[in-house]
Symmetry: C2
């Protein structure tokens, strides 16, 4: 992405890359509701979005949170994977529809109402929700807003996914949209998520649209691999929410001649969106990119990388622009020791910003190098109070070679700043 210096430039950039693939439309509307759980009668606004295919497709796939206490929309969407056809998905923010007694029924009510209005089977529609955990979904108010939603979808002539990317946000400070043109077709994806941040707020959602004709079986084989190397390789605060989902669908309008190219493009898009989410993580001042080489498996490489990226001591050191690399070494040794990974300190090498900092079992530091590394960390810093666009896409690069095998993985994480604590601790205190 070119250098962005203002929110309007960022939106122009997103709009330019945001063309909807053939056969897709979006509808956006708003509604108001009064949460049952509160003692007052203050109305809250809710965004309602519809991602719709002109014709039902059999080529769709989904990957969902592995959280054992999943939200009702996750349960509903999982069951929809068995359906023969997919027509679209209805998405609300403000309430995640998780951990309530009536959750699944409420989601079914919304989907049935939307299906009647569209004129399709309820089994062809999915639902996604993001927001407060434990509050009841206002199914009645959402159902009442369905006609307006469909009217909006029919009237939309922008043919652009930026509106959808905007409308599904909760605590995100800017929309997330990435795309690729490929062999006469398009892949466009939007995502939301900035860590599990506000009290009870949750959820990473990603919707991938394409007109390239990738058969259902191939898409369903491909999507878990793509997610494994993108969204499952990021960690803002090490928590996986109850509601995370990635949905992909093809309108099959354009012949796809090379599925390997398609998967490569899809992987790039998802890795870029994953980077957007980390960059927008609450209180994030540094994006940390940990590449682990020389592992026995890519899972092992990812686990070692996550151990480093999730260490509060590493995260706070980087937040303070402090090249306190003893903490890097300790976090790796801690993880390996407690997970029976037979790493040899004498063969392990660690680099920060390309500079060797650990080799032969010892730290290799000198005062001049410390000054250089601190300057490097400052250069990678963003303003942790996010504006409406990402300031840059630099990250703190940590490269680790554990010299045990041939596999590698890259993890994206974020530092741990006062702003993170402020967002997460000071909300109701």
């Amino acid at each position: 992405m070119k250098k962005i210096t203002s929110e309007s430039e960022y939106r122009e950039e997103l709009s330019a890359r945001g063309r909807l693939p053939e056969g897709f439309s979006t509808g956006l509307t708003e509604l108001e509701f009064i949460p049952e759980e509160l003692d007052n009668d203050v109305k809250m606004p809710m965004n309602l979005s519809l991602l719709l295919l002109e014709r039902p497709t059999d080529s769709f796939a989904g990957v969902f949170t592995r959280n054992k206490f999943p939200g009702a929309p996750v349960l509903l969407c999982r069951s929809r994977l068995e359906s023969g056809l997919f027509r679209g998905i209805i998405i609300n923010n403000k309430i995640a529809n998780v951990c309530t007694e009536t959750g699944l029924g409420d989601a079914e009510t919304v989907v049935s109402a939307a299906a009647s209005a569209i004129g399709c089977e309820a089994e062809e529609l999915m639902a996604a929700s993001t927001g407060v955990i434990g509050w009841r979904l206002p199914a009645g108010e959402i159902t009442s807003a369905v006609p307006a939603l469909l009217t909006a979808a029919e009237a939309d002539c922008s043919r652009n996914a930026l509106g959808l990317a905007d409308h599904i946000m909760t605590t995100d400070s800017y929309p997330k949209l990435r795309s690729r043109n490929l062999a006469g077709g398009t892949i466009t994806a939007v995502a939301k998520g900035a860590g599990m941040i506000e009290p009870n707020m949750a959820t990473m959602l990603c919707f991938i649209m394409t007109d390239l004709d990738v058969p259902r079986e191939i898409l369903r084989e491909m999507l878990p691999r793509v997610v494994a190397s993108s969204f499952n390789r990021i960690t803002v605060d090490s928590d996986q929410s109850t509601s995370d989902m990635v949905i992909a669908a093809s309108s099959k309008r354009v012949e796809c001649t090379d599925y390997i190219d398609f998967e490569a493009a899809l992987s790039e898009i998802c890795q870029e969106l994953a980077g957007d989410i980390v960059r927008n993580g609450e209180g994030t001042a540094h994006v940390i990119k940990v590449r682990v080489d020389g592992a026995e498996s890519s899972l092992q490489a990812a686990a070692v990388g996550k151990a480093l990226a999730n260490s509060p001591l590493v995260k706070t050191a980087i937040a303070g622009n402090d090249p306190n690399v003893g903490r890097f070494v300790s976090s790796i040794g801690d993880y390996c020791g407690n997970n029976d990974i037979d790493i040899d300190a004498r063969r392990t090498e660690i680099r920060l910003g390309g500079e060797l900092i650990f080799s032969g079992g010892s730290l290799v530091l000198d005062p001049a190098k410390e000054v250089r590394l601190s300057a490097y960390l400052k250069e990678c810093r963003m303003d942790p109070v996010h504006k409406g666009f990402p300031l840059h896409e630099k990250s703190v690069e940590i490269d680790i070679n554990i010299a045990m095998g041939e596999s590698h993985a890259t993890i994206l994480g974020s530092d741990l700043t006062h702003e993170y604590v402020r967002e997460n601790a000071d909300y109701r205190s």
Copy 2:
């Protein structure tokens, strides 16, 4: 422990419980050194401590960090477990002797010099170090201080472990000492540690002394069990340092008739010390005590408890006195889902401060309960800027029943406050 309201009261309390078991003495001295790694010639102070048995004993045991990049003292002490006899341990702060090329040789130099002065074999002495990672141990300066250390040990007539507990501190804000009288004998233990906190500072150290005659084999079977249910059940910031160690030795002066009673007393002491360490954790305003029941194994129970206690979202919510229990649920579901633990949300129950907050797959909250829970969190709060004594020993009690089996475990953790970030991020920025 009775209610403590001042540092002098706390020290009186520790002194009263601090009697050294028969056959032990301590020596304390100070020295100055100039770190090789710095560009200037500013002298730094270092505390040197000796824990000495009057006669060598064959009854001693050690449990060490599982970190794969252990410090030189850990390597030296591990090798000493093979020795027939143990006479004592020499302990320094300021430098951890980790990740330097000459580390093991430097530790051997110190131990050999001390052995000559004492008149014992070098194999009968251990070494422990805590402080900066990556800096070279000033073996020459320490060796020069050995005569003063021995003189101090011989001259010490306090017969009290409080001086040792004071002398081994680094960033601890108060000494940690616990003891039990049992069947005519004594068990007294001191510990240091407050998380891996200052840049490159590390290490939890614990030294257990007893005059009760527990045979070597029994002590060595017992100590790992005791550590597993105490020090291995705490988590300040989820990092296990390169230097953690627990050493136990018996002078065998008093007959021990019941090893089960002995182990129970030792477990209590170690659990109390573990609590002292968490309570003194950098920036800790709330100690979090998570009890998990109904697990298939105690390891599983401990893992679920640690997942909750290490969740940054749970830790920040508690820091803010915010009973944001959706985060509790999410962190448990996340851990179980990603570790193939087949938990059933509908059978899981969660309590906070004794109040039921999750049951039958749903949160059970109402506005009045939220107010009560927030008041409860405030009541458990300490001042995160530690004084020279612990303000109280209250903890935030979270009880989870996962209804899968009969096993349980209790984890002690700490919240995540601005003070934690300040200590760990702002040191050199």
